[in-house]
């Protein structure tokens, strides 16, 4: 499957009558890793959930390869656009059971060679196949979640703070796995993070989302270069308060 392009066009979102996102527009090119960076509670996750319609977006605001996602078959959309959450929920059973879950919903049986291949994509050893899903470290669990999401053969991935519950070493491992995956599978990735250093390490381009608006954008090199006056650099230095500057 060829990697798709996302277009988010004049996207606004209210929650309990309060605006969460206000006229947000941006794009993700095929095969690109784009980070949506910003302080916690800024509506980043709410936006991400609209891309695979876990939350219904307003019509004609989110396009996948030029097609309005609200007009697409929702289950096909979710198989095409995988998602990894901040908190990992592995289903009861073995690691293999978890990886086979998505294809199993369609009545497909995943051969063990394919399980091993998916584990390898997530940089996990074959021995983990028969392991109980509740007996994994945080980093392992998150990478099993990644392998599980890859099992349905998505062309794009939505990552919702996938490393914020992990220690620094596990965080780096997940990052390098994602970078490798983008190389090998050509996935289009939209990565939500509150960590500027992470955005700097993984992103091709960064959008800074503050108080529901995109306040800054560019490549990490551009945004974070020494002496940068960009708001992203201000946020990275911890000098951006909750209020709009």
């Amino acid at each position: 499957m060829t990697s798709p392009r996302f277009d988010i066009v004049h996207f606004s979102l209210n929650r309990h009558g309060q605006p969460v996102l206000d006229d947000v527009s941006f794009y993700v090119d095929p095969g690109e890793i784009v980070c949506l960076l910003g302080p916690s509670g800024g509506g980043k996750s709410s936006l991400l959930r609209c891309l695979n319609r876990l939350t219904e977006p307003p019509p004609q605001t989110i396009y996948l390869d030029g097609q309005d996602v609200t007009a697409m078959d929702v289950l096909a959309l979710r198989r095409r656009v995988g998602m990894v959450f901040q908190q990992v929920a592995l289903f009861p059973g073995t690691v293999a059971d978890n990886i086979a879950y998505g294809p199993g919903l369609q009545g497909q049986i995943v051969p063990s060679a394919e399980i091993v291949r998916l584990l390898a994509l997530a940089d996990l050893p074959e021995e983990l196949t028969a392991r109980d899903s509740q007996e994994l470290s945080g980093g392992q669990a998150q990478r099993v979640a990644l392998a599980r999401a890859l099992a349905t053969g998505p062309a794009a991935m939505l990552l919702d703070e996938p490393t914020s519950a992990l220690d620094p070493a596990a965080t780096r491992n997940v990052e390098s796995t994602m970078l490798k995956l983008r190389q090998s599978l050509g996935l289009t990735v939209l990565w939500v993070t509150h960590d500027p250093e992470q955005a700097r390490r993984v992103a091709d381009r960064v959008y800074l989302l503050v108080n529901g608006r995109i306040e800054d954008e560019g490549t990490p090199d551009h945004l974070f270069r020494p002496g940068s006056q960009h708001l992203t650099a201000v946020f990275a230095a911890g000098e951006l308060g909750g209020a709009r500057s």
Binding site: E56, A76, F85, A89
Partner: protein
């Protein structure tokens, strides 16, 4: 039976009331502050049971199918309202309860009459319906409550499943199973131990009224089996109808 009046048993009722006086004494002595509530309960029980006694007397005497159906409708409405209250937190809880209880009770009673286990007479149908509807109400409350708790507590698992392309039904399946099990467990357990731990109400009543124990146990078997059936039908309907209140047609979890 129609010749009996309430007053004929008044001495025995008053004698039983002595036990309530005893309980009130304990409450007073231990400062439980339950005396007032006990008084209210005793008076309410007297009034409610007296009224229903005379009402049933009239209905049994008339034995009119329309009157029977009206009574069943009233019983179902009260059960639905009560169960709907228990199901608070589930959108349209009362509607869900009404549909589930009506479905479970109507199908069970229909089968019992259709298979000629009971006749459609006031004297048989009304007490039987009371047991079936009361039992369905309890199952419905338990299932709705557990379904809601499961969905709210397992939001992450459910949305993970949805994100992997599961339909709402696939995503909720393990939680639906848990809710149904918890709703049906009490009646299954009490059926398993019936006669070993306690003699159930219908059987006790028959024996006190002078029927032979063998007659009483036969009726009790019918009662237990019908209650299991009604529990399964009501529970299934309650679980199905209530989980759907938490999802959109586009397989999105809402209102959780």
């Amino acid at each position: 039976m129609t010749g009996t009046t309430l007053l004929s048993e008044l001495p025995r009722i008053l004698a039983a009331l002595f036990l309530v006086v005893l309980a009130a004494g304990v409450s007073r002595w231990q400062h439980l502050d339950l005396e007032k509530q006990m008084l209210v309960a005793v008076v309410r029980a007297f009034i409610q049971l007296t009224l229903i006694g005379y009402a049933l007397n009239l209905i049994f005497a008339a034995d009119n199918p329309a009157a029977i159906l009206l009574i069943l409708a009233v019983m179902t409405s009260i059960a639905s309202y009560t169960s709907g209250k228990r199901g608070e937190g589930t959108p349209h809880a009362t509607r869900v309860a009404a549909l589930a209880i009506t479905f479970g009770a109507a199908l069970t009673l229909g089968l019992l009459v259709g298979l000629r286990v009971f006749t459609f007479s006031a004297q048989q149908i009304i007490p039987i319906a009371g047991m079936v509807i009361g039992n369905s109400m309890n199952v419905c409350s338990l299932v709705m409550r557990r379904m809601k708790d499961e969905i709210k507590g397992r939001q992450l698992e459910i949305e993970t499943a949805l994100a992997l392309g599961a339909t709402r039904q696939q995503a909720v399946r393990p939680h639906l199973k848990t809710a149904l099990q918890s709703g049906m467990m009490p009646i299954v357990d009490s059926t398993k131990t019936v006669g070993l731990i306690q003699l159930p109400g219908a059987m006790t009543g028959m024996i006190l009224a002078g029927a032979s124990p063998l007659e009483a146990v036969q009726l009790q078997m019918i009662v237990m089996y019908m209650l299991i059936g009604a529990a399964a039908l009501t529970g299934l309907a309650a679980a199905w109808l209530s989980y759907r209140q938490f999802f959109t047609a586009s397989h999105q979890l809402v209102a959780a």
